[in-house]
Amino acid sequence: MSITGIIVDDERHARQALSAALQAYPGLEIIAQCENGVDAVKIVNELRPQVMFLDIHMPRVDGFDVVELLGEEAPVIVFVTAHDEYAIRAFDSNALDYLLKPLDPERLRRTIERIEERLDQDEIGRYTQVTTGHRQLQAPLRRILVRDGSEVHVVPVNEVLYFESADDYVAIHLVDRTLIKQDRLQHMEELMDPLNFCRIHRSFLINLACLSGIETEAKDLRTAILNNGRRLPISRSGYHRLRSLL
């Protein structure tokens, strides 16, 4: 049985050229081509390819975002990019390979061999997980990417009311809906701007812009009231953090 793969690139010629170059390998079948990261997430969900040739520089959702969004569901990743400035990050993300454009046929042949090796190993259960290539970002995040099945949501951080932790997930509460992201609240807290978001409780990280009041029922028994009327408990250490910020 042949290996299934998809090509993700925002340039039509690049997709076509890679597809043409891959014609030389009948053992690898390209089952779909996507022109952006959002489509890529959708296609991976629907078709479950084994390999993804992924461009890095793409509009809105770039190659690294795609890897992060897919998490454990990501197939074997081969980054294909014109610029070598992403190399370090790409290797950090545990991608199988990193190809530079224009493609060198000899280099591509080695990549295909590696893909075959990796997929053989997977069958005997020695698959190394693809981790997200996102190292700690210097600047606070401006938007959050959430995958809901095959759909990708891009949420501006300032539209978030609060984050709630639920086991291995974080519920992102917005004015009109709630999205679930596979992540830890601790990690979310690190990504947010510490001046705008406050961890008021072990399970809650709130957007200070949405805080409308604090109610004190007794010492160490306080409640935060948000713009939309939602009431959340404040822990003692949470209250200290909140007071130092306000």
Binding site: R12, H13, P59, R60, K101, P102, L103, V154
Partner: protein, 355 residues
């Protein structure tokens, strides 16, 4: 602070010169008065040397009355009054000195001083005039130097911004991307390669040759960016649309070369390239009575990863316009509802030449 104190060497030289001058002057007085040499030396030399410090004060008057900007009469009158006052003050100091000399070594000092007062005041006035001359010469030299330096700095700025413009043009990203497109087309649509290579070489030729010229026409610039957009259209396909709305009479207008390219490059890089569906770049050029108005707008992704900060390209364009036109030229940009708009307003060069 008087500039003479800025460097010890200058002070020493001036002091030495002054010492010689006062020695000559005191010798002159000795000849005029016909008294013993040691008496004349003891009376006149220190007094004349003291005048050195009186003369320094003139610097501030010269600084206040720049020679070209001050009405001639006012300049002469002020300097005359200053001269008389300074000499008078000096003579007062002189009489104190004479009184002091009498105390330590009584002699006919006072009589000698009184009899030589006319010659002393003339010499003082003359020396003061010498100071005026020296100060004005110094100030003029300094002004001249400042003007020259300013001109040089301006020229340097223009050169530097032009260099940046060329650098942006032959930026490796552009070359990589173009080469990539060529390589891709070789595999998919080889028939398109020839035309693309023509566009690339024309684009590079313009960048290299016009970066040395001071002026191009709006028409030249439009052909240049059309070439660039043609190259990029191969990459972006249906994601890139353009609209050109240009006054026919504007095409012949002169303008600085390579000014539009960095702006269009920005529209692609920070605009079209960030949008899933792409968008339209609109270029409007209007020829007003006195100004040439250029407006470029493009949509951008508000939810993009990078905050679309001010780019180096835009900054260098603004610098070039400032260096070339000063306050006459304007660059403004706005960012609203997912639309980025940059507007250039350049004085029409023809209007400037034949008012």
């Amino acid at each position: 602070m008087h500039p003479i104190f800025a460097q010890g060497r200058n002070l020493l030289a001036a002091g030495g010169l002054w010492l010689a001058l006062s020695a000559i002057a005191s010798h002159l007085l000795y000849l005029l008065q016909g008294t013993e040499p040691h008496v004349a030396a003891a009376l006149y030399s220190p007094l004349l040397f003291l005048f050195f410090f009186f003369g320094l004060s003139n610097y501030y008057i010269c600084l206040e009355l720049p020679i070209r900007q001050t009405p001639f009469l006012r300049l002469i009158a002020t300097q005359l009054i200053a001269n008389a006052t300074t000499v008078l003050l000096w003579l007062v100091c002189g009489s104190v000195y004479v009184w002091f000399l009498n105390r330590i070594y009584p002699d006919h000092w006072e009589k000698l001083y009184r009899s030589s007062i006319m010659s002393l005041s003339s010499i003082g006035a003359l020396l003061y005039c010498f100071w005026i001359l020296a100060h004005y010469l110094f100030l003029m030299a300094r002004q001249h130097e400042a003007i020259e330096r300013e001109a040089l700095e301006k020229k340097l700025l223009i050169n530097e911004t032009e260099l940046q413009a060329i650098k942006a043009t032959i930026h490796p990203h552009f070359l990589y991307n173009s080469l990539n497109t060529v390589a891709n087309l070789a595999l998919t649509e080889p028939g398109k390669i020839h035309n693309l290579c023509l566009q690339i070489s024309e684009f590079l030729r313009y960048s290299v040759s016009y970066s040395r010229k001071a002026s191009a026409t709006v028409g030249d610039e439009l052909v240049h960016i059309q070439n660039y957009l043609g190259i990029e259209r191969e990459r972006f396909g249906t994601r890139l649309h353009t609209v050109f709305d240009v006054d026919e009479q504007a095409r012949e207008e002169p303008m600085p070369p390579l000014l539009l390219f960095p702006l269009i490059e920005n529209s692609i890089k920070h605009g079209i390239d960030t949008l899933l569906e792409g968008g339209t770049i609109t270029v409007r050029i209007r020829c007003g009575a006195e100004h040439l108005d250029i407006q470029i707008e493009n949509p951008f992704d508000e939810l993009g990863k990078k905050q679309g900060g001010s780019s180096i390209g835009l900054e260098s364009v603004a610098k070039r316009i400032q260096a070339q036109y000063g306050k006459e030229g304007r660059v403004t940009c706005t960012r609203q509802d997912g639309m980025f708009r940059v507007m250039l307003s350049l004085p029409r060069q023809r209007a400037l030449q034949n008012p």
